[in-house]
């Protein structure tokens, strides 16, 4: 069962607000570099970079980062498919905003910080996510959040976001996964107020 949480216009407004928060968190001259985490974070980062460029009135560099090799569970799964990593220019001394679609345990972000540092030493690393669904397992939390969401472990959150601009089937959806497990745990999704 899939429940829509945000439709395309609501996702667009959410991304716009996130871009304004990123701009507000980075006053001054330096333009942050946006880096989307493969795969879900990449289209989100492109959309945020476009919005941010509009706010700042200058181009915003945007790249992608595959964290597969840096995962702490690489040993426990079939070799995951590797997707392109493209870091735009030198990140040494810059502010990098890591972008992902859903923030869950924090392990992906830990891996992303390891992967990112192979490319240089950014002066600051920030984290922007569309959905913070809870269940952190590490002392990592996002700086910019589109929406916080209470979820159970039997649910999954899907962010559908076209990279080139608002798509007709864009949106955020909540899925009830394994039916056997979800019958034990009542699945309730309570949308919280915005983090801002």
């Amino acid at each position: 069962m899939t429940t829509p949480l945000l439709d395309a216009p609501a996702l667009r407004r959410t991304l716009g607000r996130m871009a304004r928060e990123i701009a507000a968190a980075n006053p001054g001259t330096g333009t942050p570099v946006l880096v989307g985490i493969q795969r879900g974070g990449v289209p989100v980062a492109r959309r945020l970079a476009a919005d941010l460029a509009g706010i700042l009135g200058r181009p915003v560099a945007c790249g992608s980062l595959d964290v597969t090799f840096y995962r702490d569970d690489l040993d426990q799964r079939a070799a995951p498919t590797v997707h392109p990593t493209e870091i735009p220019g030198d990140i040494q001394g810059r502010t990098v905003v890591l972008v992902d679609d859903v923030f869950f345990t924090g392990r992906t972000i830990r891996a992303a910080m390891d992967a990112l540092h192979e490319f240089g030493r950014p002066s600051r690393v920030q984290l922007a996510v569309v959905i913070d669904r809870g269940h952190r397992q590490l002392p990592i939390r996002p700086d910019v959040v589109g929406q916080e969401l209470f979820t159970t472990l039997c649910q999954s959150v899907l962010v559908r976001c076209a990279a080139g601009g608002e798509g007709t089937d864009d949106g955020v959806f909540l899925r009830e996964s394994p039916p056997a497990a979800s019958s034990k745990t009542p699945a309730t999704a309570v949308s919280l107020s915005h983090a801002s």
């Binding site: 595959d66 597969t68 090799f69 840096y70 690489l74 799964r77 079939a78 070799a79 995951p80 498919t81 590797v82 997707h83 392109p84 990593t85 390891d114 192979e118 490319f119």
Partner: protein, 314 residues
């Protein structure tokens, strides 16, 4: 797709989509090699053994560097300075290496099927680095990777493999990979080294002993070295005659397409199978093959290590 093979023993048994998945993975590893920090922690804490019963320098170095760049620990084992000289069997040697908790064993052996043999009783992952005249899967993969990268596709291309086909595991691995991906393959060389029977290996394979016919309209020429060490008797009168009849020289280059790729698995014999001017010329991708070999071997180690299925090699 999900890779679920525990070993990489040959290309004959791989599906086209598995080959493509490995090539796609290798493309990302090639990008890793272009960074200032060329190492990723994918195989951190794992032990890789290069078990090279037959001598090799370039393949061993390539595998060694590939494993190091994945952060694995690497042990090099060569037959000349080993217990194999003292009469130990291959099986016992491999079991001893496994008792040291080797996770991946890369085997180069003069006997066809040796890696398949190891894979039947070892818990470790086995990678074939060349077995007799049977297969050299990572060489076949790096050749196809290079063609795909340069030409943007493999399907529909005319690929000519010229030289010692009979004794060549490189020719066989190329043949399987190329035909699975839809290329047309022409095999050419002296009749003693290019049996007509190769045409029955796969569809779209043609054998010719006429070098002009083999080169005309080719998109890719893959030149193979004459493997003196694997020939039981001289299969042709002299290297001078071979160069005259089958060597790729500037006159013969006029027959190939203007943008044809010139490939060679190395080591090259200048003036025998290839003229120096062509080996060093603008169409030669011989050194890029070496670079790509590293990426392909990293991909093979990475995928095989993640392969979880308990595949029993027959």
């Amino acid at each position: 797709m999900t890779w679920n093979r525990k070993h990489l023993l040959d290309l004959q048994s791989l599906r086209a989509e598995e080959i493509v998945h490995l090539l796609d993975t290798a493309r990302e590893f090639k990008a890793v090699g272009e960074r200032s920090i060329k190492k990723v922690p994918a195989l951190r804490g794992k032990t890789v053994v290069n078990l090279f019963v037959e001598p090799s320098t370039r393949t061993r170095i390539s595998f060694e560097l590939a494993a190091l760049r994945l952060s694995a620990d690497v042990i090099n084992f060569s037959a000349e300075a080993s217990s194999l000289k003292k009469g130990e069997t291959l099986k016992d040697t491999a079991r001893n290496l496994e008792a040291l908790n080797a996770d991946i064993i890369i085997l180069r052996h003069g006997a066809s099927g040796a890696p398949h043999f190891l894979s039947r009783f070892l818990g470790a992952h086995v990678l074939n680095a060349g077995d007799g005249a049977h297969e050299h899967p990572t060489q076949g993969l790096l050749d196809v990777f290079t063609i795909r990268e340069k030409k943007g596709r493999v399907e529909g291309l005319n690929v000519t493999i010229l030289g010692d086909i009979l004794y060549s595991r490189v020719a066989r691995s190329n043949l399987w990979a190329l035909t699975k991906l839809g290329a047309h393959v022409t095999l050419c060389g002296p009749p003693t080294l290019v049996p007509k029977a190769f045409e029955s290996f796969a569809p779209n394979v043609r054998v010719t002993w006429n070098v002009e016919e083999a080169l005309r309209g080719a998109d890719v020429i893959n030149l193979l070295r004459i493997q003196h060490e694997r020939q039981r008797a001289s299969m042709f009168p002299s290297t001078g005659e071979y160069a005259a009849l089958f060597g790729l020289n500037p006159a013969r280059m006029a027959l190939v397409k203007p943008d044809a790729l010139i490939m060679h698995p190395g080591p090259i014999n200048r003036g025998v199978e290839i003229a120096s001017a062509i080996a060093d010329g603008p169409q030669s991708v011989i050194l890029e093959q070496v670079t790509n070999g590293l990426a392909v071997r990293m991909a093979a180690l990475y995928l095989v290590h993640g392969g979880r299925s308990l595949q029993v090699a027959g």
